[in-house]
Symmetry: D3
Subunit: 290 residues, 6 copies
């Protein structure tokens, strides 16, 4: 190693050492990552997320992945020429639709993530909410007209804990079941939140397509780094949190109330945003805390 | 209970007691069941197979299910208007085809079996050959032109054994992977045979659409109850074992040579044929033994 | 298998499947069976009881046997020409008598049951209340004049639980001890009841020589299928429960109050009455519940 | 404590300390003790043996007791007026006789030892060779005319090892069984020897009514302290080892050949002879070694 | 063995048997022994203490040793010509002094005890309060001017319990640490007391240079055998407990209040005083109890 | 985070990800580090080594530290005015000298390393070769005149393996013992090598004061990156390996022959040289391999 190489190596060593206190802080902790949106589409971003997950596991964390898959579902619905019925703008999940959701999520998105992790040296297993009745559901009590959209009644935490203890990264497709043999489509943010609760996770991280919650949504200049749970109602009222961000932040609030230590809304389109959130002082995106 | 009811109950008790020695013989043993064909289509037969599996588990056996799914694959290929290319009559599995196979098996057939077992009180988990690299494959060395059709190189037996020990019924979709991230379509009989080998199973049971191997295929009157491994070449030569039965019997022979105790070719269209084979003196279909 | 054999086999399979929900309900549960009376004398009935116990174990239950042995005790007292002294019609257990009780129960009845279970493929171990101080006793505080008749002070549940977990059927002779080295004769129904309590058993089953509790003891036509704990005082007052049935039902009540889920008084003279009670909808004899 | 008491206490402390190296040498080792003869009859000797066993266990050894019971058997045969048939001077064990042997050993001798150990603070469990098929037998192949006298075919070592590991002292009545449900009378020295073999015991100690093997049987002055296995044939030929001592020494030789480290023939009539053998330099009686 | 040797051996056996109830009483219990003073200097006394510790372990107790080392510290301070500063007669522990204390205790006294135990067949490991932060300290809040004299804030009981369970005798040098990397000198009686509390020990034994607490300190004739916790204030007031005995008895009182069962102040100069206290009816020195 | 901060964070993330394959390669492996020389003196270098050890542990490696302490020994010898006797230029270790070695290593160097690791969040325990007889020695057979210099006869690997499994970093002072209670001074490189052998370590890393083995010792320009075991004799003969490097390379060769996978001679004066060796492609210093 010449002196230049040495200097560069030295910089690397210092960066590893700088990460030490963050590794210590998160050691042995369960981190539930909702993985979806554009971060699933770009090969480069996918690669970055997979690497982050494997590194997390290597330094002693216990990541759990819950994934979405909207584009694949839409794509398959289109190919199979299945038309969706909508009620108040919400898509009804009938038997034909849930069949497509199952194929898209369990037969495409989930195995693709699992294979990616495994080929990079991680040890992943794909699950859906029907395995050992991982996610027991009933129809949404307030919106039964939406059909097979599931409200989670019970999470089989033991299944995931056992697999985490054996060193696996569980990758969960958000499809649930009930005791009559029906399948349910579950919102992935919501599934991640309920799983984080059941596992008494330290963190819930929602990967989205935006950098976080903007202080001023119109100008998109500054991200709010931290929101306390009691500020949330006001932020919704003021329209700072709006649109699709409202259900996301509600998932965070529910998880926090049930004992999860911290929740993040971060930008999946920023490579290694998970690592940057966990391993830097400034963090990434918006953190919601108690 | 009146005297008639009592007499009938007594008959039931005697039947349970008659099953005792068979239960004792199979106690704690791993039984790999290849489940496919018409037994997967009729709701009534499906129900019977599920019940058989749950009963096997309750009386102490450790069943493992490997399923096929040809009709669902064909159906989905048709709907998606994907044309298959054929070489010498064999279908080539290209990228588009394997995508359909994944969706049909992992997103439809597998979860349907898992949910069925669970709703009847069993505890099933769905796996495919990619979970924790359960089935590591390479392309068929002699027929590379068939594309993503897999030869199994290594089975992660520990994954299945751990789940069996925890009281689960593993349900395996015959899809493999390699270290480059490719998926492979695997013949289900063959996958079941390799899994039985790796688990040092006591039995390999192939559910087919015929009652067994006929002594005289033309008249289909009498089933050969037992074939010794050394009789197989002659039976093939004489045409007693012919057509689609040849690869099946070869799977049996391979499993036997690798240490599996016994193999069965039985009729999935006969309700409870698994139970009848395991719990009666006469058994069902044709048994191939060393 | 010809078509007639097949039809008959099919019936058998259906009966096994019908038993499935009962097997599931009792899976892993501890069932304490008091075995005594005529069911111990007839070879055929003995065979049936042994088979029932082995089947219970095979399908995942944990049976514990507590046996009596009155006839053998009387027989040996007669042969050894030991006269019994009686107080108010109750036999006094003096040193000579307890010596005979020990020989009859521990040296004859108990090993005969153990050997029977083992030769039919079960795994039984014989215990008495002195092994690891399983049943610690003192003389009956209200009837000290009866001598070495024991009231149970403490049950070493761990000894039985450990052996159950190792897959053994414990067979218990109702002989107790105290810290001074005395032996005590214990009523077998009572011993079974205290053991059921200590093990937090699901069921206590008392095998008797009658079909259950008659609604009208004079005409012996109809058995009361179920009695609630709060009906017992009235039934005793009305004479429906009378004579030797009173202490039996009191054992059931005590066990229920201490947490046992259900208790049965069933006819040991009806072959497989244990199975019929556990595996049929109608059940057998009289069930006493909370 | 005054100075005299202190001096005396000091002596006690020194004696305990002197025993230290012997305790260390035997720590964790299995010692099989055949307990029989006059040491079973005198209350004082019985007390001494029980204390020795408890002390052995407390200082970390794992004692296993195998007991005889000839006098009790003879006594009960007489009381029941059962005449014995003899062939060449050896008693035939017919059905009636084995019934008496079972009652005397399992219903009297065994529980009396168990209760004695327990009331002095040890933790004993009584076993016979039928429990979990501990001692599987067949009739003596060379002397079938002796009836139910057993040759041991297989010892269930696991049963005893599990109980030793849980801190129990197993007390074994030498009664065996076969797979047809027959009981067998087994010579206690022989049973102890086979059990020592199966447990890979460190020591086999046979308690007898004589101080050891006399160098000159006529004058009974000097005991041979140690005999090497290869000297035994000569000693038998010379008549030094004669009569009832021959089968005893043969049991020792068999155990040694099968891996037991050392065997002792010691005087059960000398109080604490077990302790004196184990804890003093000179030892007691005659030791037979490889 | 001739008759004289036999008689003497018999006496030994009786003494061992007499110790039985004491062994049973202390079986499995943790005993914390503060070892210091003259008992550490005389080779003969050291030997006796080591033997006592090994015997305690062999008969099932779990001894923990906490040692002092004043003379070695003074000796090394002198050799290195380090002068001590005193405040109100108490020595100040500055950086230079703590360096000497570390060398004397961790580099001399501790390894000498460990090696002694090991060469006599015990299994000892040396620890100090810095290993796995066994003794976390802060400066004495009331006397900060004394410098690096530690008040114990937290004891890592798990470290010692794990090693006790693996059959080791932990030997602890009373040196503590804080989270800034400072070392602290800790009074050995006090360290032993806090360790006994944290381990929920059965006993705390302080070895001193006097036979116990005299009823009349002037005449030193009679030792008070037992003091109840509520008598302590009066005894201090009356001057019966005085001088250096006051902090010792305060350590005992604190340990008792925190759940330790009994505490002893005994004479380390009396050979085997530990054994004599534990294994005789009269005991040794003064016992303080609740 | 502004865009500059983000770019910089991104660089950090990439460096962490670059380290991934190295972390995976060393995961779960035992790495024995000999820590000595100037790297022990500079506070900054000490800090860097401690950080490296903690990071190694966090990412799943199992580091074991063996330390030297020559300067501290010389310093203390001087202060205590102990003169050393020399034979052929080698210092004789007599009783006085070993006493100083013990104090310097066990009472100063070892606890200082342990405290450093613990205050940075690692979990360290200090050991010496006498704890549970970790390093059993005899005098050097070829140089008995050197006195208490130890040749290692047996390493108690279990002690270290147990502590590694509990997540501790063992820090070992190279002081041995024998069964007579003598202490021995052991060369630290040699102790590290024998420990690496006994633990079947993956790596032995010797931290020295030079950058590695120079291709041309005179000009010290180029380090030989890798030496095969069979090149060593020639390199010694040619003088490339000379002086104090000869015993070091012999330790490496011995460890390799006994099964250690690789050995390094690296520069302790280069901050984070351990990390740079383990986590970069080029590595550091000279690697000796089979």
């Amino acid at each position: 190693m010449n002196s230049q190489a040495l200097a560069s190596a030295q910089v690397k060593a210092n960066i590893l050492i700088d990460a030490l206190p963050y590794m210590q802080r998160h050691y042995g902790k369960i981190i539930v990552v909702k993985y979806g949106g554009n971060a699933m589409i770009s090969e480069e971003l996918k690669e970055a997320v997979i690497h982050d997950l494997i590194l997390m596991q290597l330094v002693g964390m216990k990541p759990v992945v819950v994934h979405g898959g909207g584009p694949e579902i839409n794509d398959l619905l289109a190919k199979l020429q299945i038309k969706s019925r909508f009620i108040d703008g919400l898509r009804v999940t009938d038997e034909a639709t849930i069949g497509v959701v199952k194929m898209a999520l369990m037969g495409k998105v989930n195995p693709d993530i699992v294979v990616h992790i495994n080929r990079h040296g991680g040890k992943a297993i794909g699950f859906s909410g029907i395995d050992a009745e991982l996610l027991q559901c009933r129809p949404l009590p307030d919106q039964p007209e939406l059909g097979l959209v599931g409200e989670i009644q019970r999470v089989n935490a033991k299944l995931l804990l056992t697999n985490l203890d054996q060193g696996f990264i569980p990758v969960v497709a958000p499809i649930g079941c009930d005791s009559e043999g029906n399948f349910y489509n579950i919102n992935a943010d919501y599934a991640a939140s309920k799983i984080a609760e059941a596992l008494r996770a330290k963190r819930l991280m929602l990967l989205t397509d935006v950098p976080g919650i903007y202080r001023d949504a119109a100008h998109k200049e500054e991200i709010i780094p931290e929101i306390k749970i009691n500020e949330v109602p006001r932020l919704i009222e003021e329209g700072v949190v709006a649109g699709g961000m409202i259900p996301k932040i509600k998932c965070c609030v529910e998880a926090l109330m049930a004992g999860v230590d911290g929740t993040n809304i971060i930008n999946g389109c920023q490579p290694h945003s998970i690592l940057l959130e966990l391993f830097t002082k400034e963090g990434m995106g918006t953190m919601i805390v108690r």
